[in-house]
């Protein structure tokens, strides 16, 4: 999985957050240590985290908690999103360093609604983004203040859980295991009984694997495998001329029917339709999944949200 390594990041290191704007094609499930606030500035995209997928539209704001796995995918519209990544250190409660917050902030969800309007968070994020373009000293301090406001607003106005993990479980270790699982699935995607082979490789029973994945990602092994199959098939549809049936076999689907059904469910289109309508990715796009966008457009969009 490459998506946890961000190359195309324009960020300042003077203040404790990474701020960037990106247009998403696909960002298969990944996680990071930072808390990530995302604002959809234009268009729409589909987000999947622990529970069911959400369609996010312009003006939606979502927070991805530290180490929470999530994936993003474009719809048929172009999109533009603002990301602010806040390191864990900002949220640590000194009285108990082992505990961490898990905030519920998702403007597309009807449950777990915060005590203030979502626009409060959106506005703070947009202000941060606008100032981040400046090189003035004063703006660095303004951004620091805005970041603190964002953290305080999260703690004061959103619903949250506080979680403490047991001493003997190394959450870093857990993340390594997760990576190993991901890599194994990718490498063995054409196999038709990946789950059993995976269990043998990773040394867990199916039940243990199920619990582990459910806890760390919210997904089942089948979800991950299907998702990886779809991603691989997309790449092949875009970049090769191979036949549908070849691709279907290469990606480990049981049959063409299964391929069609799963693909359409995941993307909304059939494999053929996808192939015909694919967007050309500029070859100098540094990170897979991110599209080029117009900086000026981004600037004027941001101002609109204020």
């Amino acid at each position: 999985m490459d998506h946890y390594i961000f190359e195309l990041i324009e960020h300042e290191t003077k203040y404790p957050a990474k701020v960037f704007i990106a247009s998403i094609d696909t960002s298969s499930f990944h996680w990071h240590y930072d808390y990530e606030l995302m604002v959809v500035l234009k268009g729409s995209l589909i987000m999947k985290s622990v529970s069911e997928p959400y369609i996010l539209n312009a003006g939606d704001v979502v927070l991805f908690n530290s180490k929470k796995v999530h994936s993003l995918r474009r719809t048929d519209q172009d999109n533009l999103c603002l990301f602010i990544q806040l390191p864990q250190e900002l949220f640590i409660d000194n009285s108990n360093k082992k505990q961490s917050y898990s905030f519920y902030l998702n403007s597309a969800s009807k449950t777990m609604i915060p005590k203030v309007k979502f626009s409060v968070f959106l506005q703070t994020a947009v202000k941060i983004a606008i100032r981040s373009k400046s090189k003035e000293v004063v703006d660095v301090f303004r951004i620091k203040a805005l970041i603190s406001t964002l953290v305080a607003d999260l703690i004061e106005y959103t619903q949250y859980d506080i979680r403490q993990y047991p001493d003997n479980i190394d959450t870093e270790h857990n993340s390594d295991v997760l990576l190993q699982i991901n890599e194994f699935i990718e490498r063995n995607i054409e196999s038709t009984n990946i789950t059993q082979e995976l269990c043998k490789y990773i040394g867990m029973s199916e039940k243990t694997l199920y619990r582990f994945l459910k806890n760390s990602t919210g997904f089942t092994a089948k979800d991950l495998i299907d998702s990886t199959r779809i991603e691989k098939s997309k790449v092949m549809l875009r970049q090769t001329n191979k036949s549908i049936s070849f691709i279907e076999q290469e990606c480990g689907f049981n049959s063409e029917m299964t391929f069609y059904r799963t693909f359409k469910k995941e993307t909304g289109v059939t494999p053929n339709e996808y192939r015909e309508n694919v967007i050309e990715i500029a070859t100098n796009s540094e990170v897979q999944g991110y599209l080029n966008f117009d900086n000026n457009e981004a600037d004027s969009l941001l101002k609109q949200y204020l």
Binding site: S95, N96, K98, Q99, Y104, T111, M112, Q159, Y160, D161, I162, R163, Q164, Y165, P166, D167, N168, I169
Partner: protein, 689 residues
């Protein structure tokens, strides 16, 4: 205790000599507090370093006559002075639930030491007001609803505090058990109620040697208790032979110079408004005799001389909040927390099986040590329930959520091996009450009585009812100062523990009990009824209130109403059996004996209780009354003999016609067992007279 009444009286001559050397103004100077009104008002905002009583408050004192001032420190859950130092013990009500007088003596000594280390010489933390209805906002500051128990526990605290040569001040005298109306309500009751229900515990503490009494704000039969000739002169000083001095409750405790001085008030606290010059003038105008002044001043001088000269020990600053005291606070919490229900032995939680815990309820994360009134203690640290649970289950994944969204709470409960609800009250809901006008106030919290309901907040009830059934291993931890109704939701959780306000180590104690590191042994010092209106009705905002003879468990028993949980009830993780009960009289005492066996697998402690019944009485008397108790430690399988005795005097009734105590010559029922419920008692009888 060195400074007993007898010892203090040996100072009468010295005190008289000093008194004779004073002029009128100097004598009256002794009778007032020294804190400037503005200074106290300015300092009394929450969060300000100079909070209420941050240093001992002085009164009187004459340097060149070598008479020290009275140096006042408030309580009762610890010494109120300073910030980040004092030991914060569990509130008095939890300590009442321990039924452990030895422990209370030790707590008294620890507090006494800290008072000395602060250079104080008086501890005003022996609050023994009897809550007529458990909605009283300051219930946390008293031991429970039974006068006999109040007397025993209060006396123990007096002994402990005065062992360190600190004056113990008992309060608030008298009939002070309504908060919102405390400045304006006039309490009325009949003679028997006054003498048999609301005053005996004060006498017990006077007999134990208390050196000072604080009069209350409220009125009794139309007269302010700070001016009350009957209560202060006739009953307290004459009848009971009290040798110490009376001080008024602060600022609004004296409202009239002449009435207060003649009514037996010795010291106006905490600043001079009605005494001082006004009192000098009243004496000169012949409205108050100088003899009265001499009497008050003598009491003050004698008490202060006796205590201040009792030792010349130096108490180091390091004793304040020391490990020994914080351990004592933890010990008290462990002994008082009461197990009310434990279906299918869900508790204690097995650390090997319970590896995912969900904690729900905003109080879990709060520093629930009690109200923010004059009893607020500011310790160095406070362990919240969530911290306690997290600290004591390092192998578990602990998730906290405040419980607002019921669906989310249900999810978290389903995903866990156990769910713990922390619910109840905090300082915003109940506590010392501040008047609406902030210029009148000397504390900053809202508090007040529980005027709306004696049960949980509606959102907490909804939370328990929605989420409890989602997980069989469900526990409700109750936080609060007095009885909390559980009828509506008790069947939706397996286990319930009452944690009161458990002090600076409260979270640790709660967790130790949840996980079985400690076997709970607390007993309810109040009855828990099925319905709120099984208890006496009180109009919390009023100028007149009648206190009936019956309240609490005596009322339910007299009216044949079954309680949900009886007075004296408390479960444990083991089982006890009482056998071989015998009852006898000897040396003007009644004695109950029995054997008690720990028939379970876990070491534990049981509180054996003795009750006396009055069925054959010719007058209207309770069905039975608590007249003795003792904690008995038993290892698993161990058997011990218990003997509890009570002086016959304590079985008298007060005959209003000849104004005297009478012991009825009749058969009395005798009970010994583990709660006030007849099912938990072995019964017998004795004959007196």
């Amino acid at each position: 205790m060195k400074c007993t009444k007898k010892y203090r009286l040996t100072y009468t001559e010295r005190a008289k000599k000093l008194l004779d050397s004073l002029n009128l103004e100097e004598k009256i100077h002794l009778m007032s507090g020294e804190i400037g009104l503005k200074e106290m008002m300015d300092g009394l905002k929450q969060g300000v370093e100079n909070h209420y009583n941050h240093v001992p408050y002085p009164a009187g004192g004459i340097k060149d006559k070598k008479l020290p001032p009275m140096l006042f420190c408030d309580g009762p859950r610890g010494v109120v002075c300073s910030t980040g130092k004092s030991t914060c013990f569990p509130v008095t009500m939890l300590r009442g639930a321990t039924f452990d007088t030895d422990l209370e003596v030790r707590i008294g000594r620890a507090i006494g030491k800290e008072v000395r280390a602060y250079n104080g010489n008086l501890f005003a933390g022996v609050c023994i007001n009897l809550p007529y209805n458990p909605g009283w906002g300051r219930s946390q500051e008293t031991y429970g609803e039974e006068s006999f128990h109040l007397g025993k526990m209060g006396s123990a605290l007096v002994r402990g505090v005065q062992d360190e040569n600190v004056i113990a001040c008992i309060k608030h005298f008298a009939f002070n058990s309504m908060e919102i109306s405390r400045f304006k309500v006039s309490v009325n009751c009949d003679k028997r109620t006054e003498r048999e229900v609301f005053l005996p515990h004060f006498k017990d503490c006077i007999d134990a040697g208390a050196g000072s009494v604080m009069s209350s704000y409220n009125l009794y039969k139309g007269t302010h208790c700070g001016h009350h000739d009957y209560l202060l002169n006739k009953v307290l000083k004459d009848e009971w032979g009290f040798d110490g001095f009376v001080m008024s409750d602060f600022i609004w405790g004296v409202k009239d110079t002449v009435e207060a001085a003649n009514g037996g008030q010795d010291m106006e606290m905490c600043c001079t408004e009605y005494f001082g010059d006004k009192l000098v003038k009243a004496v000169r105008d012949g409205l108050v005799s100088e003899e009265k002044i001499d009497k008050s001043a003598l009491r003050i001088i004698r008490t202060l001389l006796a205590f201040s000269q009792a030792d010349d020990k130096e108490y180091k600053d390091s004793v304040i909040g020391c490990k020994e005291h914080t351990n004592l606070a933890l010990e008290a919490a462990e002994k008082g927390i009461t197990l009310l229900q434990n279906k299918d032995n869900v508790l204690p939680l097995n650390r090997n099986k319970i590896i995912r815990i969900t904690v729900l309820g905003k109080l879990a994360k709060k520093e629930v040590i009690g109200d923010h009134g004059s009893s607020q203690v500011r310790p160095k640290y406070i362990v919240t329930p969530l911290q306690g649970i997290s600290n004591l289950s390092p192998k578990a994944e602990v998730t906290f959520y405040n419980g607002e969204d019921l669906e989310h709470a249900k999810d978290l409960a389903r995903q866990a091996d156990a769910v713990i609800f922390v619910v109840g009250y905090d300082h915003d809901d109940e506590g010392e009450f501040v008047s609406e006008s902030s210029s009148d106030a000397y504390t900053t919290t809202i508090g007040g009585d529980r005027t709306h309901s004696l049960g949980l907040h509606q959102d907490e009830i909804d939370l328990i009812k929605a989420v409890g059934p989602e997980n069989k291993n469900s526990v409700a931890v109750l936080i609060g100062g007095n009885m909390i109704m559980i009828t509506e939701w008790k069947d939706y959780v397996s286990s319930i523990i009452m944690a009161y306000y458990a002090g600076m180590e409260g979270g640790t104690a709660i967790a130790k009990i949840l996980f079985g590191d400690v076997n709970p042994s607390g007993k309810l010092p109040f009855v828990l009824p099925y319905k709120e209106n099984d208890l006496p009705l009180v109009n919390w905002d009023t100028t007149q209130q009648i206190y009936d003879y019956y309240h609490g468990y005596t009322k339910l028993e007299k009216e044949g109403v079954e309680p949900l949980l009886p007075y004296g009830f408390g479960l444990s993780y083991t089982k006890y059996e009482i056998n071989d009960a015998t009852f006898a009289t000897e040396d003007e005492k009644v004695v109950a004996k029995c054997t008690i066996t720990n028939t379970g697998d876990m070491d534990g402690t049981e509180v054996v209780q003795m009750y006396v019944g009055f069925k054959n009485s010719k007058v209207n008397r309770p069905i039975k009354l608590l007249r003795g108790f003792e904690r008995v430690e038993l290892k698993a399988g161990e058997k011990k003999e218990v003997s509890i005795s009570c002086p016959e005097k304590k079985l008298c009734w007060f005959n209003p016609e000849n104004e005297s105590w009478e012991l009825e010559k009749m058969n009395y029922e005798m009970y010994i067992g583990t709660s006030s419920d007849n099912k938990d008692l072995l019964q017998g009888k004795i004959t007196l007279g």
